[in-house]
């Protein structure tokens, strides 16, 4: 993108007029993925930052108008690819809200456990990557070791370790097995040690604190005006968490198991500490949920004409076969109310919402995403102004910008 040189704001003739422009990205290790910044610098100080995004724009929302509600889950997966399950749950939460479906208790609990595991996995990557960018490789390796355990659990449940595509309208693609429970219990047991390892590496690390404390401060008013949600908003003192404010899934029954982690620092260190605190709360939720996992079916009844019958029903009963055909013939599928609805979940990055417009068919007329990364990245030029060039990595990492969610 051609950019005009920024005119110097100082008098000519002083040595301050030598502002220069630095191109940061789109392929740079600290951007993690693909985003570009055009920085105007005065020495090492950033005078102005102009983000240039869209390097990963893939037309997600156009695909959402072409695929049906069950198919689009594979695309939604790839939106925030650090915690894919959370996106699926948010998407099908909205669709079930549109269709007025109430999912089964077992499904609610399994989805809750997976959503919290996804949150942990997202925060681990974010914390590890911040540490990596600020020069500490060890925390990154510890975090990734723990993420592999989350991958194992998700792989056991769904068959795919990265993009599980596990949820369906009205339930899940299949129930979990007993190993799932064992694995989750083992994770709940082993996670605190890894968490304290990372804490001990970073919390009192002088270099880490010096590079994050007071850097990229976002006040509460600014955070509200700029629509910050999730850890970024909570680190600035917005005590808002959809799990408490608009409880969904199994959260109404698990209110006693967790607290909202807030801070009023608003800087990178506060965002780091909020994420570390949220992981502890997430483990508490998982521990409470796995012990209270209800029995029963994971899908709502097949009389709802929404749920895909399982393979044995399709192959061995005429009703199952008919239902399978009804759901997969392109001119049948299921009917939805002709209306529009907004549904949102609290994912690791913030409020992930979908505004779905339905024209009565099984495809969305419009599948608008409210992407937290996009909204948080819009605050970036404001946060980075006046800081040193080395603070760019710290601020970018603390906002946890995921390019696929940013550009869609």
């Amino acid at each position: 993108m051609p950019l005009e040189a920024v005119a110097s704001q100082y008098e000519t003739g002083t040595d301050q007029e030598f502002l220069y422009t630095l191109n940061f990205g789109p392929q740079h290790p600290a951007t993690h993925t693909t985003l570009r910044l055009v920085l105007t610098l005065d020495g090492e100080t950033i005078v102005k930052a102009v983000p240039d995004i869209g390097y990963l724009h893939s037309g997600f929302e156009k695909l959402g108008e072409d695929l049906d509600f069950n198919q689009y889950v594979t695309i939604v997966d790839r939106m925030n690819y650090v915690s894919p399950v959370a996106n699926e749950i948010a998407w099908h939460h909205t669709i079930e809200k549109l269709m007025g479906l109430e999912i089964t208790p077992r499904c609610k609990y399994i989805r809750t456990i997976l959503a919290e595991l996804a949150r942990i996995s997202d925060h681990l990557l974010c914390v590890g990557a911040v540490a990596l960018d600020l020069g500490g490789l060890t925390a990154f390796l510890y975090a990734f070791n723990e993420r592999e355990k989350v991958y194992d659990i998700i792989e056991n449940a769904s068959g795919q370790r990265f993009h599980p595509s596990y949820t369906r309208v009205g339930g899940l693609i299949n129930d979990v097995n007993d190993d799932f429970v064992t694995q989750v219990r083992a994770f709940v047991k082993s996670f605190p040690k890894a968490h304290s390892d990372v804490c001990r590496l970073l919390n009192k690390n002088k270099i880490f604190i010096d590079r994050t404390q007071g850097v990229g401060v976002l006040t509460r008013e600014e955070a509200i005006n700029r629509s910050c949600t999730g850890p970024v908003g909570r680190a600035s003192g917005i005590a808002r968490d959809l799990r408490k404010d608009e409880p969904y899934l199994a959260y109404p029954e698990l209110q006693g198991a967790f607290k909202i982690v807030c801070s009023n620092g608003g800087d990178c260190l506060a965002r780091y500490l909020v994420r570390m605190g949220e992981m502890v709360e997430s483990v508490n939720i998982i521990a409470a949920a796995i012990e209270n996992l209800p029995s029963g079916p994971v899908n709502i009844g097949t009389d709802s004409n929404v749920v895909i019958p399982d393979k044995s029903a399709t192959y061995r009963s005429i009703e199952g076969l008919i239902q399978h055909f009804e759901l997969f013939m392109w001119n049948r599928r299921f009917e939805t109310p002709v209306n529009e609805v907004y549904g949102a979940n609290e994912t690791a990055n913030g409020e992930l919402g979908f505004y779905v417009v339905s024209d009565g068919s099984a495809k969305a007329w419009r599948a608008r995403t409210r992407p937290p990364s996009f909204i948080h990245f819009a605050t970036f030029p404001h946060l980075v102004e006046g800081h040193q060039i080395s603070d760019v990595a710290a601020i970018l990492g603390s906002l946890n910008i995921i390019a696929a969610e940013l550009d869609r």
Partner: protein, 200 residues
């Protein structure tokens, strides 16, 4: 009487030596754009540990690398960047197209995603999967090592012959011509549109 060793024999041995050295010190340039980038990080970190195969020295500047791993889909805006990074890498260099999106566009058959990076840069190894498991990435590095050992020459003669486009065939026929020629905008047009009127 002195034995005269044929030049060919000597050269081929040196080739082997060079290939052996090259294949065990691949320096990857992770051109990570999307989901596959996270799996690439997983491949390099604790559990899978790409360092076991001599390819762990990830460098983020193309001028220090000889293996480009394109991990993730490449959008329209990213193509010129990718080509420029490829051109900045010193010879000899190789390219791994990691994942379905980089190889074929994957699930993203939309207006802005390139349907396979091999339309625009040469590719040596394709890795299927969305995203591929870390084991597959390691396998692709091993396959590339084998390819280097078998086919490499010390002065890169194997590349000199490859001056033609190696990607998929001309797929313009699939599109309705009326759709192709009205490509709006002022894009840098080149070989992909040869034979068709360029739009200014």
């Amino acid at each position: 009487m002195a034995l005269k060793v044929d030049d060919n024999i000597f050269v081929s041995k040196l080739d082997d030596l060079a290939n052996w050295v090259r294949k065990h010190s691949l320096w990857p340039m992770p051109f990570a754009t999307a989901c596959c980038g996270i799996e690439l990080m997983a491949t390099a970190s604790s559990r899978y540990d790409l360092a076991r195969f001599g390819s762990e020295a990830m460098r983020f500047t193309p001028r220090q690398c000889d293996l480009m791993i394109v991990a993730g889909r490449v959008a329209m805006k990213m193509v010129p960047v990718m080509q420029r990074i490829w051109l900045q890498m010193p010879e000899p260099k190789w390219c791994i197209s990691m994942g379905a999106c980089a190889s074929t566009g994957g699930v993203f058959d939309t207006y802005s995603v390139v349907q396979g990076i091999d339309r625009f840069i040469p590719v040596d190894v394709y890795v299927p999967g969305c995203p591929p498991r870390p084991e597959q990435v390691i396998r692709s590095v091993l396959d590339l090592q084998e390819k280097i050992q078998k086919g490499g020459t010390i002065n890169g003669r194997e590349f000199a012959r490859r001056d033609t486009y190696e990607g998929p065939g001309d797929r313009l026929g699939e599109l309705d011509p009326s759709e192709v020629v009205i490509a709006p905008g002022n894009f840098a047009t080149g070989k992909r549109l040869r034979g068709l009127p360029l739009v200014s």
